[in-house]
């Protein structure tokens, strides 16, 4: 594998950011974190992540609002929404994200989802390249 795939973790809680970074780095990704929407907006152009994990409930601009703005500029970078609630699925605004994961201390499900999304995104890119 050449370059490591890059993941930006957006979460307002520092400990969560640390947990995600360690778990995802261990899983072989290059990880950067942002503590809120503004921070993420600043870091994305520089870091150019292959995938963004986005906490929905954040102080200031929440995850869904950030997703909407982000999609205006970037239509391809996949976003995985993380939340404590299971019923955000009902909200059509999250359709703009590639996946939706209910937060759990067991990150296996998150990691599986990230892998799936990245693979799909890779396929898509290859299709577009052809």
């Amino acid at each position: 594998m050449a370059d490591k795939e890059k993941i930006l973790v957006v979460d307002d809680e520092e400990n969560i950011r640390l947990l995600y970074r360690e778990e995802l780095e261990e899983a072989g990704y290059e990880v950067d974190t942002a503590k809120d929407a503004m921070d993420a907006a600043r870091k994305i152009p520089e870091f150019k992540p292959d995938l963004v994990t986005l906490d929905i409930k954040m102080p200031g601009m929440d995850g869904i609002e950030f997703l909407r703005k982000f999609r205006e500029k970037d239509k391809s970078t996949p976003v995985v929404l993380c939340t404590a609630y299971a019923d955000y699925k009902k909200d059509f605004k999250i359709w703009a994200s590639e996946a939706y994961v209910v937060k759990s201390f067991n990150l296996d499900r998150l990691k599986d989802t990230i892998r799936e999304v990245l693979d799909k995104s890779q396929e898509k890119r290859e299709e577009q390249d052809q």
Binding site: I16, L19, K57, Y85, A86, F105, N106
Partner: protein, 803 residues
Amino acid sequence: MQNIDAKWRTPWLSGSEGPERYLTNLLDYAVDAAMETTGSDACAILLVDERRQTLTLKSCKGLHDTATSAVRLPKGKGASWRIVREKKSVALSDVTSDPDFILIPQAGEERYVSMMGVPILKDDDCIGVLFVEDSEKREYTHEDVKALEHVAEKYANSINAAWDFERLNEKTRSLSILNDLNHIVSATNNLREIVNHLLHFTTELTCARTRIIWLTDESNEVLTKHFPESTGDDEWMAPVRNGIVTHVARTHETVRIDDIHSANPFEGLDRVASTSVLCHPLVFEDRVKGVLLLADRVTGLGDYCVAFSGEEAQMVESLSQTAAQAISRVKVYQKLEKAVEDNQAKANELSILFQLGMAMQRTVSMDDLLRVILSCVTVGKGLGFNRAILFFLNETDGLLHGTMGLGPDTGDDANRIWSDINHEFGEQPDLVQWLLNRDPYEIENSSFNALAKSLTIPMDGKNIVAHAVNTKTATCVKNLRSLTEQDYDLISKLNCQEFAVAPLVARNMPIGAILVDNSFNRKPITESDLKLLVRFAAPAAWGIENIKLVERLSVVNKEMLEIDRNMAQIERLSTLGEVSAEMAHEIKNPLVTIGGFARRLLRKMPSSKAEVKYASIIVQEVERLERLLRNTLDVSRMAPVKKESADLNRLVREALDFYWRMLYEKSIQANYRLSPDLAPVFIDQAQIRQVVINLILNSIEAMSCDRHDTQKTITIETEPVKGDQEKALLKISDTGGGITELDFDNIFNPFFTTKPHGTGLGLPLCKKLIATHQGSMKIDNKLGVGVTFSITLPCCDLSKKLQ
């Protein structure tokens, strides 16, 4: 002649007696004078009455004293009338030689053989006859006749004056009799008494042998009863009534017949009269109150019948007027009296109905109401029947069921109760209070009540009670011959002679009947008793219907309360859900951090270290907390239900398969009893799977303790439930020993749990999910054995799906 004149002066010159004796004295003088003048053995004076119908013997000597006034000769009879008619004297040496001569044996005339009679003339009018008689045969000379004529002439004026005076006196007497009648009949309101007085006074005034009065009936038209009854039965009198009496009643005119054999336009009159008739209407204010018929004016001693005089007719008219007025007054009085009685009865009825209403208003239970109704029917101050039974119609079995009976068990019992009641009323005159305060146990335990309750009457059968209810009409059973077998059965059970039934009708529908009898005092049930019972039955039925409504209402109310409680629980669940969702979110993130790093620790640490165990505990605890949070969020934020047709059997099997390892590890035996006939259910599969899994977990956890020596078994059954809408029944049973009573009351309360790792949200969630499926969930808890959860779920309604 001179001698006579000198000797026989007119008596009033020397007479010292009162005017009432005047005529008698005068006639006695004349008789003496005639006898002395003629030297005859006997003498008599007869006077003509006002109507010139009768000659009455007014004074005599040598004849029986009793003959005076008693001998009356009807017009035309005998030699005397010839003298009156011809105004010529008669002298007979042998009376038998004159065919007109009639001997009056009652007067003692048979002793005499010769007779001389002269007219007593007043202004060419003959007012009487003067006779002398001799027992030895005597040839009367012309002088003898002249002498007698002289005597007659001498006294004629005086006699005429005295005779007028006496008749005047007679009239006065009649008037006073009339006055007496007036007084007497005014003093009574008894019709029979008035009639009797009238008959009596008629006798006083006239000498009619027969006196009959007919009275008109209420409508003042038809002549009904006649008095006195001894004059003959109605059939015998019918021709008389239909003839002259009806004629008089119709025309308001008096009919006077002197001799029915010479002139009589009315048939059948000979049944009551032999000669004369005087028939007079009793008219008051132009209405006929009756008819008075007098027949056969007797002359007294001679027993001859003569015609009625004009004076008598006048008297009778006055008498009739008085009588008619009295009769009319009595009838008005009787009407008034009846009206007053009716009014009193009505007022009494109203008062009873009012008091019943008051008492009914204060009862809220059916038993109380029935007791009040039956008490009101049986108490003397109420309807006063001896016994009463209420029947209610049961629509389902088509029978009238005896529901309550009130009445004494024996005659002694009756006397005791009635005296008790009288005693009670002495202290407590209020019927309403008394009705409400009756001892329910005494009624409840009476053998009559037991008898009443044992009675059933088929509505489609032939019997009086069913007929009354079916036709909604009250009946009184008096004629035992018209009864059917079912009636006899009832009567023999009740042991009564007659009874009455009134239907209980509410909203135009029969709801039952009330049966009454007077088996103890044997008082006949009258028409008005029955009427009152009917009037009473209406508000009673209304009251019963009301109580029924109230009872139904209270059932509905209870159901509403139940629903309300459930709603409150659901609401509490929702609010709790809201709060816990907030909390869950706040807890979730730190939990992720704790659990996440604990897992990392677990992974990074060499497995030999003791700390691995600690990290593992942290992971387990976080796992539990996360489950709690997930359940909490599930309860509060339920996803919309997505129902579809599903195979419940398969769903159950899959759910249980999910736990096969756990079952195996805990040595729990799983039994299926799944019905192959189960129709597909219409459910949200994810939700119902959740329910089934929760319940299976519950059962597994209940059997997790090793203290049970018995085989741990979980049994899952399904079976179809037939009904209006087909349902599927799912039963999950365990052998976990059941739930204690205290815990059982709480199992549906959120956050209640008995398990070391429970969340307390499992069962409330299940209940909520089943409820959203219009299903039901029941728990059969057998302490010491286990618990069975029974869930019903609606099957797919194919007909609905096709629409």
